[in-house]
């Protein structure tokens, strides 16, 4: 067993603040099918993530990183084990509770931006601000990602990188506790990708959102507090960066 990596003390170690972790996963398992045909996306995974931490999940396709993110984001439920965000149990929660959790605490950034094409950049951000408890003004969120000059453009009038930055602004406008990003630079070229990552890093810093980024681009690892490598449904290694690199200093 390569279970050493999953040992609680290791995974739990963070910036050493001693504060309780915000995300806790214990024995998390996600399987599809039954009997011999059972396919495991996650196997008995343990994990703790601290408040404000910037985590990069690395791994090839099928390693389980998306499944883990979906469970932490309240989009999916595990087959066994438990996952919790602070005092919110994510495992036994019903649809409505998960929706409320996503609405109140989580900001999502998707690989394909998922903007509403009939709304302008400002309106896309406003859309989420409308249902948030304590949002920042949409213009402020867009300023954080450097798009103050593109407020009234429709997605079709924006470049891919600009669209993704709108998506980041949309994710942070609610001042989320957690910012979950699924391959945010997957559809972008290097320079544009760096702009988006800067926006995410800035949000992490200024909003204080615990940030988890999924990627299979190992170069992004440099900007994380912690890098979790996944394979076969487990965390196979954990690295801690003594110094986080600025996105513009990343090389890939």
């Amino acid at each position: 067993m390569i279970m050493a990596a999953n040992a609680a003390p290791l995974a739990g170690a963070s910036r050493g603040t001693g504060a309780p972790p915000v995300f806790v996963a214990r024995g998390l398992t996600k399987s599809y099918g039954s009997g011999d045909a059972t396919v495991y996306a996650l196997r008995d995974l343990d994990l703790e993530i601290q408040q404000g931490e910037f985590v990069v999940l690395l791994g090839p396709s099928g390693s389980g990183k998306s499944t883990l993110l979906n469970i932490l984001g309240g989009l999916d439920v595990p087959s066994a084990g438990r996952a919790a965000w602070r005092d919110h149990e994510l495992t036994g929660a019903d649809e409505a509770a998960l929706t409320a959790y996503r609405r109140d605490h989580v900001g999502f950034v998707f690989q394909f931006y998922n903007l509403i094409p009939s709304l302008t950049a400002r309106e896309n951000v406003e859309l989420v601000a409308e249902i948030a408890r304590n949002p920042m003004p949409p213009e402020e969120a867009l300023a954080l990602v450097g798009l103050s000059h593109r407020l009234d453009h429709f997605p079709a009038q924006l470049s891919g990188g600009e669209q993704q930055r709108v998506a980041v602004a949309r994710a942070i406008v609610k001042r989320p506790d957690a910012l979950l990003c699924d391959e945010p630079t997957g559809a972008l070229d290097v320079e544009t990708g760096k702009l988006v990552l800067s926006a995410i890093a800035r949000a992490n810093r200024e909003v204080g959102a615990t940030t988890i980024i999924i990627t299979h681009n190992a170069a992004i690892a440099g900007m994380a507090d912690r890098v979790l490598r996944m394979g076969g449904g487990r965390i196979v290694s954990i690295e801690r960066n003594p110094h986080r690199l600025a996105p513009e200093d990343l090389v890939w």
Binding site: S66, N70, G73, L75, D76, E95, A96, T99, A100, R102, R103, D104, V106, F108, F110, Q111, F112, N114, I116, P117, S118, L119, T120, E123, N124, E126, L127, V128, E130, I131, D152, F154, P155, A156, Q157, R170, D182
Partner: protein, 784 residues
């Protein structure tokens, strides 16, 4: 290979396939129903008219000598002439709660069929030449009372009671539609037509060696107008009352009016259904092509020519049309047969088989397919012209113009802007969606408004205009003393005399034969009304015409009409149109009774008496009137209204249920398909919103708000359309038998709106369930 894909596409879109097939089915059903029942009715009519040698021109005359027939036969343009004696009779029919009226017509007396208007015997035989008390009875009355050959009947002919024996039951081409006094409803239990040998009939009406009706057919190429004019000239000295063609023959006219209505139905209603189906196919197939553009491009890249790919999508449409046509032909044949059964009590033909012509299903299917292809033409063309390389890339997102929404922009939240931009971003689609849903309302309104129309007809004709309970026709005009005599009878609360004279009205190019009624100026049992239902005083000098009659004649208030009396000394007089009045059944023309008597150069005469009676003494009163020799017929309003209810209620209910069903098919078809397409197009967006923390309700609201706005726009537009279409249909009706007022009650409007809102809501709920099943995780991945 492509065919397997076709089946999968059809299956995965089965809800949409079915709702569109239902729309096509409804159009096909109406087409099949109206064309097939039209053809069956027309076929029965033509066969019976030909077989029975139905007269083309008829004329009534007071009393003309037999030898005049030979002179008529010599007129140019005449093929066959038949003279006969006819008269109104009263029937002493045990079991009838009110007096039964009848008409007796003479047969040649040779034991042979007449040359024209021959009878089709259903049972028995014609009277033996020597038997003057044998009679053939029309099938309508015989069926209503289960009369068989051998049964007896007592008639009061010209005041004398005579016993007849029924020897035959028959149909007649001039009584395909049978009613008394031009009533728009059959009265099979209260009105009988009989045929007996000429000798006996002539003796009863004092017509030996004479005739009072002449029938004729035209030689090929002869002009009806010319022959009519010549005939009138010959008959004038003998009291001719004006010859008329089939157009004015009551039975024929009623049948033609109905045929004309079927023809309108056959054209208009299917167009609506096919049009909406074409629009829905356009958006559904357009969406399908859009979703499958990469597949299409891949097929093209693999070397598939464009045509078979387009043909593949055309097949998709063809399958839907075929499905709809199968449904529609089945339903249409069933409805057509039902329609024909509805006709049977109205139109008596010896045979009226329901036939579905072989070509009709094909015509219906081909029409629906042609219209549907027209609807998907744009989508198919896009496939054929799609450059392979471009198609392999995902479609660019729809560009939305107009950044601001005007003053709304600052007031509406972002969530509200999504549906609004959806509506404004595709104005054409929005227009057709609104229009499509709106068209559901006229359907429902057309189904339900008949109750309003019938209520309003009965209210106007029988509550406001004819305020008496019974109407007595005298055998011939009597002095007004007769009114006072009747008024003194027990059970009679009020009696009012009327003088009714057959006249021909002429104005410019138009002329009409009708009954001119003279009313006392203080009449209370018959109160003419204007368009606002206010009583109209009976004009002292001049004539009051019904609005519809005035329109037919092309005259207005103040214009002059020429009145030719077709009774008595046949004076002619020009009269100004002094007032326009409303009526429902037939055409009304009124003058003051004293003025009419003066025009006729008559004493103070009445021919009809309106009565108000005490219902408790009604039975004894009908009995007394039945025995009076001078009373030709007594019509009782309550009986007529009951017959009206019996005949009409079933028809109205059938039409209401059918058309409401059609309205629901339209509303569900448009709303369900629009919602499904919206979900297909924007499911990914909606799933994204769910991930961002929007609840199912919020996402459902955002997606369906666009449709909700469309539905709420459609309702008032639909109600307006309903009023307009109803006006058009009733205006095009051109039915002189009776007028259907374009009255729609607020209850009908509300019911139609509720039906459509309900259908829309139910469709939305079906789609809403799909929102609940949106795959949130998929939204994180690539779209479509």
């Amino acid at each position: 290979m492509l065919d397997r894909k076709l089946l999968r596409d059809l299956w995965s879109l089965r809800g949409q396939v079915m709702t569109i097939a239902m729309l096509i089915g409804a159009g096909v059903a109406v087409l099949v129903m109206s064309v097939s029942s039209f053809l069956a009715l027309r076929g029965a009519q033509q066969a019976f008219y030909a077989e029975s040698h139905f007269a083309e021109i008829s004329a009534e005359v007071k009393r003309a000598p037999r030898p005049l027939l030979a002179r008529i036969a010599e007129l140019p343009g005449i093929a066959t002439v038949e003279g006969r004696v006819s008269g109104d009779v009263r029937v002493d029919w045990p079991g009838a709660e009110v007096p039964v009226a009848g008409r007796i017509l003479s047969l040649p007396g040779s034991g042979d069929q007449p040359a024209l208007n021959r009878l089709r015997l259903l049972a028995g035989h014609l009277p033996e030449p020597t038997r003057q008390n044998e009679a053939v009875m029309h099938a309508a009355f015989a069926e209503a009372w289960r009369v068989r050959p051998g049964d007896g009947i007592a008639l009061i002919l010209n005041g004398r009671r005579e016993a007849f024996r029924i020897v035959g039951i028959a149909h007649s081409p001039e009584f395909v539609f049978t009613s008394r006094q031009g009533s728009p409803l059959p009265d099979d239990r209260g009105f009988v037509v009989l045929w007996a040998n000429e000798e006996g009939v002539a003796r009863a009406f004092d017509m030996q060696g004479a005739f009072n009706e002449v029938l004729l057919t035209l030689a090929p190429g002869a002009s009806e107008a010319a022959v009519t004019a010549e005939l009138d000239r010959l008959l004038l000295p003998w009291g001719g009352r004006g010859a008329y063609g089939r157009r004015d023959q009551p039975s024929h006219r009623f049948l033609e009016d109905e045929l004309a209505e079927q023809r309108i139905l056959a054209v208009t209603v299917p167009v609506v259904f096919f049009g909406i189906a074409a629009f829905l196919l356009n958006i559904v197939l357009g969406r399908m092509v859009e979703a499958q553009r990469e597949q299409i491009a891949a097929l093209k890249a693999l070397g598939y020519p464009a045509f078979p790919i387009a043909a593949h999508y055309a097949k998709f449409v063809a399958v839907i049309c075929l499905l709809g046509s199968l449904l529609g032909v089945t339903a249409g044949a069933w409805m057509g047969a039902g329609m024909l059964n509805n006709y049977r009590p109205f139109f008596r033909f010896p045979e009226m088989p329901y036939l579905l012509p072989v070509w009709l299903p094909f015509l219906a299917a081909a029409t629906s397919f042609a219209v549907a292809l027209l609807g998907v033409y744009a989508a198919l063309r896009r496939i054929l012209q799609l450059p392979t390389a471009e198609a392999l890339r995902p479609a660019r997102p729809v560009a939305f113009g107009g950044r601001s929404l005007g003053f709304l922009g600052s007031r509406l939240g972002a969530a509200r802007k999504i549906p609004l931009r959806g509506l404004l971003g595709r104005p054409l689609r929005t227009f057709f969606t609104v229009f499509g849903i709106a068209m559901a309302l006229p359907m429902v309104v057309l189904g339900l408004f008949w109750w309003d129309a019938m209520d309003s007809m009965v209210d106007l004709q029988f509550d406001r205009i004819e305020r008496g309970d019974a109407f007595v026709a005298l055998t011939d005009p009597r002095h007004a003393r007769a009114v006072r005599e009747l008024a003194r009878l027990p059970g009679v609360l009020a009696a009012e005399g009327q003088r009714i004279v057959p006249v021909r009205l002429r104005a410019a190019q138009q002329s009409r034969l009708l009954a001119l009624t003279g009313l006392p100026s203080n009449a209370e049992l018959r109160v003419p009304r204007d368009a606002a239902f206010r009583p109209v005083p009976i004009p002292q000098d001049g004539i009051a015409l019904s609005r519809r009659l005035a329109e037919t004649l092309g005259v207005r208030e103040g214009d002059i009409v020429q009145v030719e009396m077709l009774e008595g000394a046949r004076h002619e007089q020009d009269l100004p149109v002094a007032a326009l009045v409303e009526d429902v059944i037939g055409f009304t023309a009124l003058v003051e009774i004293g003025a009419l008597n003066r025009l006729m150069r008559e004493d103070d005469l009445v021919s009809h008496i309106a009565l108000r009676i005490d219902p408790l003494e009604a039975g004894a009163l009908w009995q007394y009137l039945a025995e009076r020799p001078r009373v030709a017929a007594t019509n009782v309003k309550a009986v007529w209204l009951r017959a009206f209810d019996e005949v009409i209620a079933g028809l109205v209910l059938t039409s209401a249920v059918t058309l409401t069903g059609f309205g629901i098919i339209i509303a569900v078809g448009v709303v369900y398909n629009s919602a499904r397409v919206a979900l297909q197009e924007r499911g990914w967006e909606m799933a994204s919103l769910r991930v961002l923390g929007f609840t199912r309700q919020e996402v459902g609201r955002i997606l369906l708000a666009e449709l909700a706005v469309a539905v709420f726009l459609a309702v008032p537009i639909g109600l307006f359309l309903a009023q307009w279409i109803l006006g058009l249909i009733l205006g095009a009706r051109d039915n002189e038998s009776f007028d259907v007022p374009a009255v729609i009650s607020s209850g009908t409007f509300a019911a139609a709106a509720l039906v459509v809102l309900g259908a829309a809501f139910a469709s939305a709920v079906l789609v809403r369930r799909r929102i609940d099943r949106l795959d949130l995780v998929a939204a994180l991945k690539a779209r479509d």
